[in-house]
Symmetry: C2
Subunit: 327 residues, 2 copies
């Protein structure tokens, strides 16, 4: 059994507990939280919950520590700190800052002789592998990533900060025409606006100026100004009835050409349709935790990513069974 | 530069020569053929062509030998024999006999200190990875593989052997309703007949009995009897105008459930749409040849498959660039 610890118990940490239960070779042995342990309700009430600062005292009981914190402020400090005492895995997802995070984590993990796998999930994560795989098998080509239809937490939060907004959900939706052009193999150059639209469902406070809220959304730089955005005002009841899920997904498409005169076009597409973004992310993390455990047992140390993991290390079945049934 | 040799120069060998030209770190240094070398016309006429039995004499000039033979009779003997002298890669695709081929190749490669990567292409190959990846990230789920729309060489050949048939092409086509049900996440049990249909385009010889040809196709065991099959009689001109390509493709779909009460369903789909089956297969082989070369340079020996290869080893770019641009 791989003994797994969870550091941070929000949606993702809870998802990891549920995901581990689907894997016959994994056991959750500890949850660490910044909250008072008595306030943390795990799915399985027999899982011990400790304060985060107690983690180091439990390091001999844990094979892999899964760090379920936020990318903005938690992971940049938590992952290097915990990699000094544990083999760790995180889901750091600020794409632009991955090289910096990698360097910090690598130094800590290498010095202490641990493995630290970062940026695991579906994007970064499986979509990263799909993009690199596309480059590998169609080197003369182009890749495209579309996200959605799904809830963007960051964009929903941005709307909630507008005065007069009681609550909001924002869906990112790929533009069908852009998908069609990419799948045709034409390798179009697409602007931000041509790839995705943003749908906003907003609950306004009583007496709020809806036109002003719309204006604030439409003109918000980075978040909405570069997109075709639609705003729907709904009641709190409608929001609670129709918009409480956290679906997401997307697609990575690589198109490329081969042969004499580049006569032949090929399209490789990897698509995810997810009912629950955090639960699927957690399920991916569980599989890569297994790989990290195996790589650590071979003496591999330092910072690693999904790009470093062979598929066979992700599954509980034997190589013989994998070749016979899956090859 | 990775120095590549090609053993066997048909559609696939030619595809490998073209694929290597798309990769900046590869060079084709020799082609080996059972035919008279003067009869082998390579794309680049400066590539030296030798008789297959001369291969061993050139072993110091070649980093990886790509064996482009047939799975029925060539590869079961060629791959173990050549793995005694070279790091090799093949596209052995008789799924049921992979464990036996693996064992034979492994013994030869391990004894002589070589790496031998077998069953590389898209199925077995990338579809195998997609299936195993699905098992990894959605362990409580089911996977489905659909092939087509594409030309099945074996089924086309089977029709050509019927008396009165001058030429034929057979297309394997997935059933849309089956795809729809699988993508919905319902995890249906599907019969052979429910998954694919077979479309046959047949050129009959003058005076041949078309009804008898149809009957011979519809009742052919293994090939057609278990499928809904349609037969279209066309002229040789129509066949030459509309059916000379070798398109193929297919899709691997994994659906699975997560969360409390298995409340959430997720769908992961990997789909290929290929203008040229042999050229894409060759392009995949080129990428895995790079990985085999790197794994050999680390002292790894024995038989390996696509399931053993980390994505980073498939690409010519550096790990730093891969993390910055593709993660």
């Amino acid at each position: 059994m791989i003994r797994i610890g969870i550091a941070g118990y929000g949606n993702l940490g809870r998802g990891v507990e549920l995901a581990a239960a689907k894997n016959p070779d994994m056991k959750i042995v500890a949850v660490f939280s910044r909250r008072d342990p008595s306030a943390v309700k795990t799915v399985d009430p027999s899982v011990p919950v400790y304060r985060l600062e107690e983690a180091e005292a439990h390091k001999d009981e844990i094979d892999i520590l899964i760090i379920c914190g936020g990318s903005a402020t938690d992971l940049p400090t938590m992952t290097p700190a915990l990699a000094r005492h544990f083999h760790v895995i995180d889901s750091f997802d600020t794409h632009a800052r991955i090289p910096e995070h990698f360097a910090n984590v690598h130094a800590a993990a290498e010095e202490s002789g641990h493995i630290a796998m970062i940026s695991v999930g579906w994007d970064p994560g499986m979509f990263s592998v799909a993009r690199l795989w596309g480059l590998a098998v169609l080197p003369d080509g182009a890749d495209y990533t579309f996200w959605g239809r799904g809830v963007s937490q960051g964009h929903s939060d941005a709307i909630r900060r507008i005065p007069g907004v009681a609550d909001a959900r924002q869906y990112t939706v790929p533009v069908e025409e852009a998908l069609r052009r990419v799948r045709s193999g034409e390798q179009p150059t697409l602007t931000t606006r041509e790839k995705h639209v943003r749908e906003c469902y907003v609950v306004a406070e009583d007496g709020a100026d809806q036109a002003e809220i719309e204006r604030a959304i439409f003109t918000m730089p980075n978040y909405f100004a570069d997109y075709d955005t639609t705003v729907h005002f709904i009641s709190m009841e409608e929001l609670r009835r129709d918009h409480m899920g956290i679906p997401h997904g997307g697609t990575v498409i690589r198109t490329g050409r081969t042969g004499e005169g580049d006569a032949h076009t090929h399209v490789a597409e990897y698509r995810l349709t997810l009912d629950s973004n955090p639960e699927f992310t957690a399920s991916v993390i569980a599989a890569y935790a297994r790989a990290a455990y195996r790589m650590a047992s071979r003496g591999i140390t330092g910072c690693k990513t999904v790009l470093d993991v062979a598929p066979i290390d992700l599954v509980s079945i034997s190589p013989e069974e994998a070749r016979a049934r899956y090859l």
